[in-house]
């Protein structure tokens, strides 16, 4: 029996199809601007880390993160920078750092934790470090933050 018709992408023939990009507001920044900002943030994060200011480093890197299509380089750099911060934090410091983050940053941090867990072995990503942060973050921000990480279409 002919079953190839099942593989036809019927959405391609639907003029009224709902596109992923219609579900969120596009980033107003140009891709080149995003990568510039991300590089500047990576530098700022390093200097914060040298001063031992973990919260400051996290707030910096989690502010206005790159999302949407065409900014993969900036996304990777952000994740890499964030993972450096996460890995260099003593586990006993995590609860206080998480508590001192603004609500918006907590939700964005949750998004990156899930992104990191989806990429085991990428760069310096360590599953056990991410799970430790995830546990502490969930205690503070609740399941609501996890739900927001799942619903938000502004993928980081």
């Amino acid at each position: 029996m002919e079953v190839n018709f099942r593989k036809i992408d019927i959405d391609a023939y639907d003029e009224d199809v709902l596109l992923e990009t219609e579900l969120y507001d596009a980033d107003p920044r140009a891709p080149s601007q995003v990568i510039e900002e991300t590089k500047a943030k990576a530098v700022a994060v390093r200097s914060s880390l040298n001063k031992g200011d973990i919260t400051g480093a996290l707030v910096t890197i989690l502010d206005n993160p790159p999302y949407g299509p065409g900014v993969d380089e900036a996304k990777n750099l952000t994740l890499q920078t964030l993972v450096t911060v996460l890995n260099s934090t003593k586990s006993s410091d995590i609860p206080n750092v998480v508590k001192s983050l603004p609500l918006e940053s907590q939700d964005i941090l949750m998004k990156y934790l899930y992104k990191g867990m989806a990429m085991p072995g990428w760069g310096d990503v360590s599953g056990s470090v991410l799970l430790g942060w995830h546990e502490k973050l969930t205690e503070v921000a609740g399941t609501g933050s996890i739900v927001r990480a799942m619903t938000d279409r502004r993928l980081v």
Binding site: G142, T143, S145, R148, D152
Partner: protein, 403 residues
């Protein structure tokens, strides 16, 4: 605060509930093709009538208090208006269905009478809302469709008190305000914060929560000047169109799927968290005031919980089952049902509702002064709650995050 009235209606889910004007009867659908009308006798609700005409699952019910008509919507793409008339043969009063020509090709998902009860709105999966009005010449209900710019299934609607504006929440993550003005039915509405000229299908506003999510519930404030919506990102957003300001309250628990305003500065929302939560605020800011439920202890007598957990801050994880597994994990205590567990209460949540609340509606008090609300949900319970003054609740503010 007095305890809520709890009625166990069914073992399975209650799709929706609608009380009649004097609250002596309630129409419910128990996840089936039929509507049951339950009448109150003492502390019980007994089925007195079954409305059977739909041939797929019913999705929503609304009972018009003044004209005493019921409207139902179903996955069979139809809506029926039910009216009490004498049976020509027996003379008994029966509920007679009238089919509504909806002209939609997907399931009808939600239905609500307009405040003047001369129109109703049916939300649907066909990316459209059918605004239905009665055509006396042909003796049937006709519909006009609100289509643009809806991009996905409409999940919920709510009428503005002026009988013309309609708010809708949709799976394309937007809450919108439309004009549902029908020339033959409505008088020209006075201008409001939503606009001055309002021909049919005018878009008066389009809003979304910052983190997206399907919009499960929408509601106009009693004055109609403020809009609230709940979306699947566990937030409630309150829109002041004149402001222009949108306040988004992030919950640290699971998403809300239904809401109702109790006063101009207060609303009750409920959902996957299994407990109704009161929110209060005004044009300068909003916050969660507290839960209407007392979640500090299990509700049934047999559900004594094991002595360790205490109230977990993590919303719905606050259950005996969760504590059993946590004890097994952290203390090496035995398997579920072991020495210290509470027998039958093992999976009991500490909330009155034992599963998602799918509908919250005003029960007592007029618009703007609601003193009691009713909820129904997936656990088959119908519960009537006192909406107490804010002061009594603030003390119970339990792990509800405020922004």
């Amino acid at each position: 605060m007095s305890a809520p009235e709890v009625y166990n209606i069914s073992q399975g889910p209650i799709t929706g509930h609608a009380f009649n004007a004097d609250r002596t009867q309630v129409a419910v659908s128990l996840n089936s093709n039929d509507v049951q009308i339950l009448s109150r006798s003492g502390n019980d609700w007994n089925t007195t009538e079954t409305l059977a005409e739909h041939d797929k699952i019913i999705t929503s019910i609304d009972w018009a208090p003044n004209s005493n008509r019921i409207v139902t919507s179903s996955q069979d793409r139809n809506a029926y208006v039910w009216q009490q008339t004498p049976d020509p043969q027996t003379g008994r009063t029966i509920w007679k269905p009238t089919l509504v020509l909806l002209r939609i090709n997907r399931a009808a998902t939600f239905v609500r009478w307009s405040p003047f009860e001369d129109k109703f709105a049916v939300a649907s999966g066909a990316r459209a809302i059918a605004i239905c009005s009665f055509d006396p010449d042909n003796d049937w209900w006709v519909s006009r469709l609100l289509k643009k710019p809806i991009r996905s299934t409409v999940l919920t609607v709510d009428w503005h008190p002026n009988n013309v504006l309609l708010a809708a929440g949709s799976a394309d993550m937007k809450a919108r305000v439309f004009s549902a003005y029908i020339k033959d039915v409505d008088k020209r509405p006075a201008g409001s914060v939503w606009g001055e000229k309002l021909p049919f299908n005018t878009i008066c506003g389009e809003y979304t929560s910052p983190s997206g999510g399907w919009v499960h519930a929408v509601g106009f404030s009693p004055s109609g000047d403020v809009l609230a919506f709940a979306s699947h990102d566990s937030t409630i957003s309150i829109v002041y169109p004149g402001g222009p300001a949108i306040y988004t309250i992030r919950s640290n628990s699971l998403p809300y799927v239904t809401l109702t305003w109790t006063a101009e500065e207060a609303l009750v929302a409920a959902g996957h968290d299994c407990q109704p939560v009161l929110f209060t605020g005004n044009a300068s800011g909003w916050k969660a005031a507290g839960s209407l439920d007392d979640t500090s202890a299990p509700k049934s007598a047999g559900g004594a919980r094991s002595g360790f957990g205490g109230a977990s801050p993590v919303g719905r994880l606050n259950s005996a089952a969760f504590n059993t597994f946590r004890n097994a994990d952290s203390r090496g205590l035995g398997s579920p049902g072991g020495a210290n567990s509470g027998g039958s209460g093992d999976t009991e949540l500490f909330t009155v509702h034992q599963n998602t609340i799918t509908s919250v509606r005003p029960y007592e008090g007029g618009p703007g002064a609601v003193t009691k609300v009713s909820t129904s949900g997936v656990d088959g319970k119908l519960v009537i709650w006192n909406v107490s003054p804010v002061g009594a609740l603030t003390a119970k503010l339990n792990a509800v995050r405020i922004q």
